[in-house]
Amino acid sequence: MTRSFVFRNPSVLIFLALLALFTLGVTAVSEGFGVGLMSTSFVKTLGKTLCLALVAVAMDLVWGYCGILSLGHFAFFGLGGYMIGMWLMYERTRGIVETSLAEAPIPPTPQEVVDAIGNQIFGVVGSSDFPLVWSFADSLTIQLFLVVALPGLLALIFGWLAFRSRVTGVYLSILTQAMTLALSLYLFQNDSGLRGNNGLSGLQNLPGLNAVPQSTVSVWFLWASALALGLGYLLAAWVVSGKFGSVVRGIRDNEARVRFLGYSVESYKLVIFTLTAMIAGIAGALYYPQAGIINPAEIAPIASIYLAVWVAIGGRGRLYGAVIGAVFVSLISTWFTGGQAPDVNLGFYTVKWVDWWLIVLGLSFVLVTLFAPKGIGGLFDLIADRRRPDRHGDDLGPDQGSLREKEAVE
């Protein structure tokens, strides 16, 4: 039991090596740093996919390991995006405003500059004053702190209320979904102070780095996303490897038993829920500068449901499964919905994938859940020839208890 962490978890090392290889490979063929075989927009797609993989790892921690089917982790993801987006938009607008005001005959006062920025940002929703939530938008440090702190705080408050009242199972899922819906509806309002349904845009432009082409910026973000994914994966693997992981999986399988062992189940759930919300916030903060725009539709409950689908298809309860699911399903979704997939002419009907993809995805989700509950990640078990034990024994009630396992089955 004194073997090292990496030795006990060889999959972590393999994953990190593959991630490094992937990042180097993409860099080598990118337009910014390599031979230019890969378009900048595709580099961005890959970078975004890495962020989705990170939020999927968080989802796997909370769902696959702790058994909390949260349908709200994309809200935390979106909040992270909004927090970094506010700074990006503010600073960039300030740069533009200052350039244009510099030509004025009288130098502008600081207040005039702030007013002009407000006019630029909020003109679209018929306002020009900075709402309270933008108080710290001029400080990168504070906004970066909020990327982690705001989702964490929301998760902490929500989780404390929900777990303390012992809301579990499908009821908790509905509750998280309601939270997500409420948040997205709130952000849709113009007076929420985050530009309503317009969202925040122009996030791909880094303030003060106008001279750097997007081809370079895209690779930077790819590196940052890969680094975040690597560290997040390592953290998640460490969290679930020791006794903490044992307790958390125990909570998933039999909450009451863990309680009678003396563990405060609520605190553990709260720690996992908050930690994963923070990871989701970081993933979002890296995703949206690559997407360039964030609006409340991104936070809508359907996004969080997709997240659960990715993790289910990839394989719950194993971290690489979540990554595989997110990467595989989101890339294939992009391919089908982007109009790249060729239409299938059946003679009497032409299958247009843009319309049919969702049905295919939904169907494969149902099929995976029914016939391959271990997901794509389960295929690795075949290679490793590591089978889980047949789960049994639990279904025997007290009245059948006088029979032994075998007798009762027969």
């Binding site: 006794k243 903490f244 003396g262 889980r388």
Partner: protein, 247 residues
């Protein structure tokens, strides 16, 4: 009351008008083996639920230890940390995890999330796990997944986890259910050994098993104590024969 580990006094609880426990009072000493018997619906499991914090009674007190702390109102985890261990009717072990992990989770240590997060097994904990595994006859199977164990082995593993918690009171619900004769004997040995240093309360249907435990017996009926004493004493009681044994 002096010298008692657990004192249940005047406890009542009803579910939708049905009185599961009706003014129940009794005490258990610090190193005592006690069997609780009674027909179905006598309130045996509800009694355990109340002591372990799963069910909150409508009236009464449950006092614990030298300081006579009232257990009512505490949550399950807190009561478990106070030193009350519970074994369920059905074997409930974490089937997805190895016997080693199951036992290590139960070994007495800090239970908060952050101490557990940075916890790495100390040599003494590992030694304790191995000692317990030997006691329950699973010493050579530490790395097996507990889901692969037989029914009886799971029961032992759960008893082992209970002992690992180092509780001062063990509540054991039908430990011998579904066991072969040899397995029952081993279970009796484990429980009798445990009762040397702590209180053990066994709820059991099986009279032969209770006889083998050779301890004081409390008969519950309709949520109250009907008779108490040695097994021979209570089985001679006409009321007990009427409600339970006569059937």
């Amino acid at each position: 009351m002096k010298g008692q580990l657990l004192e249940v006094s005047g406890v009542s609880v009803s579910f939708d008008g049905f009185r599961a426990i009706n003014n129940l009072s009794f005490t258990i000493g610090p190193a005592e083996m006690r069997a609780i018997i009674g027909p179905n619906g006598a309130g045996k499991t509800t009694f355990m639920d109340i002591v372990t914090g799963k069910t909150r009674p409508d009236a009464g007190r449950v006092l614990w230890g030298e300081k006579s702390i009232n257990l009512i109102g505490m949550n399950e985890a807190r009561i478990a940390r106070e030193g009350i261990g519970r074994k369920f009717q059905r074997p409930t072990v974490f089937e997805d995890q190895s016997i080693q992990d199951n036992l290590l989770m139960a070994v007495k240590n800090k239970r908060g999330p952050f101490p557990v997060l940075i916890y790495r097994p100390a040599a003494q904990d590992q030694a304790r796990v191995e000692e317990l595994a030997a006691q329950i006859g699973l010493a050579d199977q530490l790395s097996r997944k507990s889901g692969e164990l037989s029914h009886g082995q799971k029961q032992w593993l759960e008893i082992g986890m209970l002992l690992a918690q180092e509780p001062r009171l063990l509540l054991v619900d039908e430990p011998a259910a579904g066991m072969t004769l040899a397995e029952r004997e081993h279970t009796t040995d484990i429980l009798v050994e445990a009762a040397r240093t702590r209180a053990v309360v066994v709820v059991e249907h099986d009279m032969d098993f209770v006889r083998r435990l050779n301890c004081k017996v409390t008969v519950l009926h309709e949520g109250a104590v009907l008779a108490e004493g040695s097994l021979d004493h209570v089985t001679a009681n006409q009321q007990v024969i009427d409600v339970y044994l006569g059937r």
